[in-house]
Symmetry: C2
Subunit: 299 residues, 2 copies
């Protein structure tokens, strides 16, 4: 079943111990869409500038992603630059140039509006609500957010939270949102705000799912070499939502498998710069790693 994602489309400069790349395809919507495209028909919403290379759109189309909702505006594409250190756990943002993303005002193509599954990647919560209201009663809508919105647009954020079924958020943001340091209490606090399915992402420490059934803990896949962690959280969300859209339900078993699906896609993402790992990635490789997660956790 169709899965709509709205979020940033970007050109990234990334420096890491393993190399340096410039103006590569990035942005939450792209990472999400490519990961989810292995499991469900994806409809992407975003904005690009005059400078956005056609080849990146071609790559998205090659993954059967509907890019009609990615519109071109006059100006420069959103640019982000970051540098990772040896440990890969911390990064410095070198620059952020919003460009056309600053005036992002998404208007869903008509055929997007019936999407049963919706993911609102990290953008201003007012825009998230705007997109959600353009959709015709999705079956399951989830969102991400960031420290900036928690700090500066809390009321807007609380409104969006009250409208969605799920939140996919990292641990520090969950703590900031709720004022709780304990993650179990964080999740309880978030569920009281609206979303009944809460996923707390913990980077190399895996992810926790909180739902009506209880708690599910997934490890991150132990990798010997991490090249570029950029987009890991967004590919996690893409794998998670893609698995739900494929299953067509949000039963506890589906949600748990979806978390492993998200972890699987994130584990591939970090193995190369940008979305490059997905350029040759097969369904068979994805299935193999999903099964490796079973071996990793079975007792």
């Amino acid at each position: 079943m169709s899965l709509l994602v709205v979020g940033s489309v970007a050109l990234d400069d990334i420096e890491a111990p393993g190399g340096k790349v410039e103006a590569v395809l990035g942005g939450a919507a792209c990472y999400f869409a490519v990961a989810a495209s292995y499991m469900a028909p994806v409809r992407a919403v975003g904005v690009i500038g005059n400078d956005f290379p056609e080849e990146h759109l071609e790559f998205l189309r090659s993954r059967d992603i509907d890019v009609e909702g990615i519109y071109r505006a006059d100006g420069a594409t959103f640019r982000w630059g970051g540098r990772y250190h040896d440990s890969m756990n911390q990064r410095d943002t070198l620059f952020t140039e919003l460009g056309v993303f600053e005036g992002f005002d998404p208007d869903l193509p008509d055929h997007y509006r019936d999407s049963p599954y919706v993911f609102l990647a990290n953008i201003h919560p007012g825009l998230q609500t705007n997109v959600l209201r353009q959709a015709n009663a999705p079956v399951f809508a989830a969102m991400d957010t960031m420290n900036l919105w928690i700090d500066t647009t809390r009321d807007d954020l609380l409104e969006t939270l009250s409208l969605v079924n799920g939140l996919v958020i990292n641990d520090e943001e969950a703590q900031q949102l709720t004022g709780e340091s304990n993650l179990v209490r964080c999740a309880e606090g978030i569920r009281a705000l609206g979303p009944q399915t809460v996923i707390i992402k913990r980077g190399e420490n895996g992810a926790l799912l909180f739902d009506a059934e209880g708690i599910f803990a997934a490890p991150a896949f132990p990798l010997e070499t991490v090249v570029d962690p950029t987009g890991a959280g967004d590919t996690f969300a893409g794998g998670f939502m893609g698995a739900i859209a494929r299953a067509g339900d949000t039963d506890p078993e589906t949600l748990r498998r979806a978390v492993i699906s998200g972890s699987t896609m994130a584990s591939f993402c970090v193995e190369d710069f940008s979305l490059d790992r997905f350029r040759e990635l097969s369904h068979e490789q994805i299935d193999e790693r999903f099964e490796a997660f079973r071996r990793l956790t079975r007792f």
Copy 2:
């Protein structure tokens, strides 16, 4: 089958957001022994001073722990004081008074020497080797260590490592020991030093087991309230080694269940100060939590 542990026996002062206790039972050997005692006959080796309350020995005996190897020396028992902050992830050591622990020179009671399973808790690696050499070819010997020995007695530590089958170590120490930040590489580096079974403890982020079969990842049990994290790593090791001693083998399935057993015992440990949680803990409660770990990780 019998399980020998050598390590510190201490009286701890602990301050945490939930309260403050003084001169409570502590020390790696005690935490380990009490956790393991639910699964195997435990023989403890340690030293106490004139001031060590008889009631603490009585508690250990009530858990069927053989305390003949805990000898009384003239002087004060090892004292440690620590303070935890709100997040529980960091603690300040307020004081360390070695007392009789400084002259600790363990001499195994004769009936201890045939112990098939041996755990060398965190003490000077020279003492660890000394104890190991007094044992008659144990089936499986494992050890812990700490930053101090990695820094100051590296050659002694490398000798001990070359003699044991397993190492149970926390993530920062594993990184310090090997000079690698990536934990998969840390484990490979450690296995090249001797122990073929490596467990990297990550506190609230769970534990990783590396063995001939591959990697196993266990979460920490998500708890809403953590009272006192002191001894969590030692009760983990106790639950791990206890499960191995009970099974009587080190097959991959046994090691994986043993990691969950360790995680189970650690999850109880942190629910109260000192070893208090174990004063009333039943086998049924332990089995229930072990099964809760299945629900937490099954997909």
